[in-house]
């Protein structure tokens, strides 16, 4: 192998693991072959590198030969591997500079060992250097929305780092009194967020404040625009609100005492998606009873209690004499100038006539809708909305508080009313998330994709297809292209999905550990089936599947990718060119991509490649696309069997170039 990069100085250790390895592998032979072809600084065989003296020797050799990469081939013991890492770290290397090769499971004896070692050596060269960057960040956090939820978040975060709260309409913001005078919190009242630049740790937020554009720096942003209650009278038989008919929020806002009064709450007709009205009603009912209300009734269909303290409050309320009345079907409402009446059917005693309750106050649960500023704020912050116009995709990877962008979080009902009841817990999580920026410095390995400026046409494709808005176009005279500009991925914002790399029309982007060369190297001589498998789903399923049916994977090459969005069109074509008979894409289930739309991009590419094949008369069925989850080993095996069967029917791939 030619000398690749003279800055990379590799030490290779072939460890016999106390004689276990040499049973199958002739280490001397391996050493001789590698010595003759590979590019490295130092190589040595050892009977057990994990001994104390051996480790000291290793440390000495790192200095002596100025090694900055280690390849340690031997056993798989994680304890021992950690010890080597420790030695390396003491010598200024990082975990990315040390590669382990498992010789205990190598097939084909010495030849197999040489092959894996060589491929790892090649990867070390390809990867180059991965530095740990220490990035200066802004500890200050922006909390958007000054309702009670925003106030809770601000108060909790302000214990560790400064907080600015912004509120467009301070008149109605009931959280402002809660934070007034609190240390570490300042309020921007009457301002509106107009846009955002930069990335997690170093956002610059543009505000419109008193008609002026103002910019301020923040490390993180917490969105807490509370959902708003709306009364939909069609859910209550057209009942108009009035002196005796109140919405739950009107009732809660009343200062008046209800001592001696009869109050009836109606739950279940509205607020079907959440527990918010249940939580508020239970608290209110207990409070009424404590303050001497004459009668408190709660009409409900299902008592929703699946959150902190709700079942307990339900129990307390019953003990205090609140009447819980279950109904089925329709309720009729009558309101007069002095009282309000509900008529309902008791499910346990359906043979009875409908029951009637007349009370002084009828309190009706409302629906919760997103704050009207939601859409505009989503555009300003470049974050995604989900169901019913609330923030956040309906995707488990984002729960509880994550957005599609690093450094921007949600708390409370802004991302769905059901999250309103979990507010304290969400605040605790957000405190931890934003706490990363509290010290003003963050260490992060530079594992984000790299751009070759000579190939970058600044076409914006990556910028537009990055689901996490982690890319900027930078201008710098040192960038060697026509524009002196190129795309750049931010290490704190990038989630390493690799979507950008697969989309780039100039092939300018490479993701460390998953570069095109590394991936294509894996399929240099593919077996019958190549499966590109997302490491969040298909890859894990394949490992489980292997336990279930190891033989099935003999004619299968699984290529791990960080996200199906990384599966490039060319990967599919190359597998076929190089002789595979079928290619599979194993992607996460719909609405489950950890990186928003990787699986959708992959599906489009499947379509594209199928068309490319069809156009030249090759069978498009050779490309299979499977939605799968990490726990679906059986489904994995079923899909592979189906593919094998299909290939059997189709015969060999006539297009293969390497026959």
């Amino acid at each position: 192998m030619a000398k690749n990069n003279k800055n990379i100085r590799i030490g290779i250790y072939l460890c016999d693991c106390d004689g276990k390895i040499s049973k199958n592998i002739d280490l001397e032979k391996v050493k001789t072959v590698i010595q003759s072809e590979a590019d490295f600084e130092y190589i040595r065989i050892t009977s057990a590198l994990c001994g104390k003296i051996e480790k000291e020797k290793l440390a000495g050799e790192i200095d002596k030969y100025s090694l900055n990469r280690l390849l340690i081939a031997g056993c798989t013991d994680q304890f021992i591997r950690r010890q080597f890492l420790q030695v390396a770290e003491e010598k200024g290397m990082t975990r990315y500079d040390v590669e382990f090769v498992d010789l205990s499971s190598v097939q084909d004896g010495s030849e197999g060992a040489v092959a894996v070692i060589n491929s790892v050596l090649a990867k070390i060269q390809l990867r180059g250097e991965i530095v740990i960057e220490e990035i200066e960040v802004t500890p200050q956090v922006l909390v958007i929305g000054c309702g009670k939820e925003g106030a809770k978040a601000a108060l909790a975060i302000a214990k560790n780092q400064p907080v600015v709260m912004v509120e467009g309409d301070p008149g109605v913001a009931d959280g402002i009194p809660l934070v007034k005078g609190a240390p570490n919190i300042s309020i921007k009242a009457g301002a509106r967020v107009a846009g955002i630049e930069g990335f997690a740790g170093n956002f610059t937020v543009r505000f419109i404040e008193n008609g002026q554009l103002v910019k301020q720096k923040f490390g993180a942003v917490v969105v807490a625009l509370e959902a708003q209650p709306v009364y939909d009278k069609s859910k209550y038989g057209g009942l108009e609100l009035g002196e005796h008919v109140l919405t739950l929020s009107q009732f809660l806002a009343r200062e008046k005492s209800f001592s001696g009064q009869k109050v009836t709450f109606v739950l279940g007709k509205a607020d079907a998606d959440s527990l918010l009205s249940y939580a508020k009603t239970l608290e209110a009912a207990i409070d009424l009873k404590e303050k001497g209300a004459a009668e408190v009734n709660i009409l409900y269909e299902d008592m929703k209690v699946s959150a902190d303290q709700l079942e307990q409050n339900y129990e307390i309320a019953r003990a205090k004499g609140v009447n819980f009345l279950k109904y089925v079907g329709e309720i009729e409402f009558y309101s007069t100038v002095i009282a309000a009446t509900v008529q309902y059917r008791e499910p346990f005693l359906t043979q009875l006539d409908p029951l009637r309750i007349t009370s002084d106050y009828l309190v009706l649960a409302e629906d919760y809708v997103p704050s009207p500023e939601t859409k505009e704020l989503a555009d300003a912050l470049e974050i995604r909305l989900g169901p019913a116009g609330f923030f956040q995709d309906d995707n488990v990877h984002f729960l509880p508080v994550k957005s599609n962008r690093e450094g921007i979080y949600f708390v409370g009902s802004c991302h769905g009313p059901i999250h309103g009841v979990e507010i304290d817990r969400e605040v605790a999580t957000v405190v931890a998330e934003v706490g990363r920026f509290a010290s003003g410095k963050v260490k992060v390995p530079a594992l984000q994709p790299r751009v070759d400026p000579e190939k970058c046409a600044v076409c914006l494709t990556c910028y537009r297809t990055c689901p996490h808005k982690a890319i900027e176009i930078v201008h710098d005279e040192s960038l060697n292209n026509l524009y002196h500009s190129a795309a750049r991925m931010n290490p704190l914002a990038c989630r390493r999905c690799g979507t950008c790399a697969a989309e780039c029309p100039g092939k300018a982007i490479q993701l460390p550990y998953y570069s095109d060369q590394e991936i294509l190297q894996e399929i240099s001589k593919p077996p019958k089936i190549v499966a590109y498998a997302c490491e969040n789903s298909g890859f894990l399923a394949s490992e489980y599947a292997k336990e279930l049916d190891p033989e099935l994977q003999e004619n299968l090459q699984i290529v791990r990718v960080p996200c199906s969005g990384k599966i490039d069109v060319i990967y599919l074509l190359k597998a076929l060119e190089r002789g595979a008979d079928g290619v599979m894409l194993l992607v996460c289930h719909k609405e489950n991509c950890k990186f928003v739309w990787g699986n959708e991009r992959a599906e489009k590419r499947k379509g594209q490649v199928r068309k490319l094949l069809k156009d030249i008369g090759l069978e498009e069925e050779r490309i299979d696309f499977v939605h799968i989850a990490a726990n679906q080993g059986n489904q994995f095996n079923a899909a592979v069997r189906a593919m094998a069967e299909r290939i059997h029917q189709l015969g060999t791939n006539a297009g293969k170039v390497i026959k």
Binding site: P387, E433, A630, A638
Partner: protein, 337 residues
Amino acid sequence: MERKKVLVIGGGAAGMSSALELAERGVEVYLVEKEKEIGGRAATYCCKATDECNRCAACLVLQEKDKVAQEPLIQVYTSARVEEINKSGNGYQVKILYDGDAVTLDVQAVIVATGFDPYDLSRRSEFAYGVEKNVITGLELEKAIKEKGGLVAAFGSDIKKIGFIQCVGSRDLSIGNGYCSRVCCMYAAKLAKIIRNELPDAEINIFYMDFQSFGKCFSEFNKELRETDKIKFIRAIPSKIYGFPYDRLTVRYTDSLVGKQTEDKYDLIVLSLAITPSRGSRDLAERLGITLDKYGFMQGGAEGIFTAGVCEGPKDIPQTIGHAKAAAGQAYRYLFS
């Protein structure tokens, strides 16, 4: 600089998440798990996707497990047990039993993430659990579907009628469990959905008290479950199940929406058992100065001791992960301030 070290007890969703969170911030973690593998309960759950993900979050746990395996700052001890924990200097000295050996670890903080055990049915004979082979728990159904790939593969093709019984051991003041386990309405509904997907003609009923909301689009999900998937909801908790003398399971209940006692035949009964504090948590709590709530869930501990996940009270997986992150954040702040 010597790295700070934290002990995490329990390698479920909570333990793994807090370990990963700490490791990402440069803290070294010893993760001690009593079972042979990390992953906890949720690592045994099946996927509940139909034509799209139904958002059960079980797959997240396997992803975390993979990340833990790749994280050099996390040292995992499986089949291990904490023998002794003693305050020592600024932290704790921990003796664990691992692989037959006693190992001593010095740590500056501890996160307890010991999860839950299902409600112990051994004192309740009315459901014929352990007597009738087709009376199973939710956990067993999850595991069977994961391992076999489907209901038919797991239980044969004779299953024509399936009943889920909710709130077994939850929301039950008579046994002192006055809390809702929070996840069982959700998983039962989602399991019912995938069973419907596999068996278009089976009868699937859910016995319940109050059906809980979950997820962002509950009402839509609920409507589809009832109308499209034709899952029937029966507002009753059966009082008795018996197999003998019939070939199928007989379930006796009083449908409170109809008001009369009924008996009906089923082929498979799934019990949604309550989430209860894990065995041994009382003992562990005592040693670590953790207070317990009246149900036995942990409520925060002495200095440098934090709790994460379901050991603190019922939670679904995303909530568990969120809670674990919060605990890790607290531990981190404790270590560095």
